[in-house]
Point group: C2
Chain length 274, copies 2
């Protein structure tokens, strides 16, 4: 599906890293990858990703639709370039020392990046995405944050991955909740729901829906971040997940340390892949 050049790399990767033979002959180019991606990003920021059409981008630049195809071989490729550009972290970000402080700081950087361009999360993420410059840079920074944590390299990658996925999920959730406010704010709606979400059928969750019109809303798992008087608690969910992971890492490290001292502790890894 992903266009690949004869190098085996998707063309978008080549473009993003600047490994593109720019032609010498012919008229000078009126456009550039940067301008095209920039215009597309402006469009997405202003009107959402659905507003990013080849015709829309071209019109914003004052060119015809087809002229874009001299720079980008498909819309998918443009989207990949947008995704990477949107994921730029602030140049030369510095992290606190010590993984306990560095990891949350890094996580917040990632989350901020997603937040600034939430539409980037709607773009399908393929294998090409990792190879893009800003992805690599963010991963490098993440590994740096964990430099003084005593677990193996692969697990570090896993932690980085899990946290960034968590950040992505939370931003996505935040966005979908923010748009157009809460659902079922009318009494009729909640009344109707109360008829089907009964404590008999859903003993463990019905009260969350029923209680003083606080209503859960979901993000894809099918679950409800609790809404508190209109203020979302997405921040809280993110912080909770993060702090649990950190606590888990500490436990993992402690148990590993004890193991080397030949004092076996409960095995935290034991719960492993189900």
């Amino acid at each position: 599906m992903a266009e690949s050049t004869e190098t085996g790399l998707p063309r978008a990767v080549m473009i993003a890293w600047g490994m593109e033979k720019t032609p010498q002959r012919g008229p000078s180019r009126g456009l550039s990858h940067e301008r095209i991606v920039g215009a597309a990003i402006d469009l997405a920021d202003a009107e959402g990703l659905t507003a990013v059409t080849m015709q829309g981008v071209a019109k914003a630049l004052g060119f015809t639709t087809m002229s874009l195809y001299r720079y980008v071989s498909s819309k998918e490729e443009l989207l990949l370039l947008m995704q990477d550009a949107a994921f730029a972290l602030p140049e030369r970000s510095t992290l606190p020392t010590g993984w306990r402080a560095a990891l949350p700081a890094w996580a917040e950087l990632i989350r901020a990046a997603y937040r600034s361009h939430p539409w980037a999360l709607e773009i399908p993420r393929g294998q090409a995405s990792v190879l893009m410059p800003n992805s690599v840079w963010a991963a490098d920074l993440g590994m740096a944050a964990l430099a003084d944590l005593d677990i193996d390299q692969e697990s570090k990658v896993g932690v980085i991955l899990v946290i960034s996925q968590l950040a992505a999920s939370m931003v996505e959730l935040e966005g979908s909740l923010a748009e157009e406010g809460l659902v079922s704010t009318t009494p009729e709606g909640t009344g109707l729901l109360a008829e089907v979400i009964t404590p008999e059928r859903f003993p463990h969750i019905a009260d969350l829906f029923a209680a003083n019109s606080r209503v859960g809303a979901d993000g894809g798992a099918g679950f409800a971040p609790v809404i508190d008087g209109g203020t979302l608690e997405v921040d809280g969910e993110f912080g909770l997940g993060l702090s649990l992971l950190i606590a888990g890492l500490e436990a993992l490290q402690r148990s590993a340390a004890r193991e080397t001292e030949q004092v076996p502790d409960q095995d935290v890894e034991g719960t492993g892949p189900v």
Copy 2:
């Protein structure tokens, strides 16, 4: 964006819960929501979500395109119904007792559900999604799994949310990696990458790309689940995240218990929202 009826509830929610006034007069209906959603799901399973077009679904049913609009007011609504239908957990799933065992079991149920219909993850998840029947049911089951865990209700919801998001991310990642195998399998590709991903520029991650052509690939955070001789370690990442969360929960519980005994421990929550 989400169509809402005069009840304040999105129409898709009404349909999914069976709260629809079916007309009394007129000819008998040749179609039904169930048949339409079923046909759409079959299409998505067989050829992916992009194959789900109104015309495609209609043709599969032997009806014209526009006849579908008597049952579904937009394609978005159909997609929401598909999303919920795809997320059905096995009827009457039972969980082990004790949250330590129940939580991984529940997580695996969720992951299995996503895995059986991966295209469901591509459907944008809005606020309506939580209110759908299978979402509510899954949430209820998750809360049941945590019944004997001694933390407050809101945190439980957070844990449920985080885990389901993790499962979703991992399934999505798994799918994007599986499709069309690895990228940059040609020597030219890795060579080119080695030119730009240098240890000088990316001191903490360059070796992961360089080392024996094991190559990282990403899922949207910009990070690399390590590939091991062609076998994905997505299972491992999922298990790692899950076990870290469980260890974190144990630590959280322990520290809470000590606090009530007036013996302050290190505050695990302290790392909280950044």
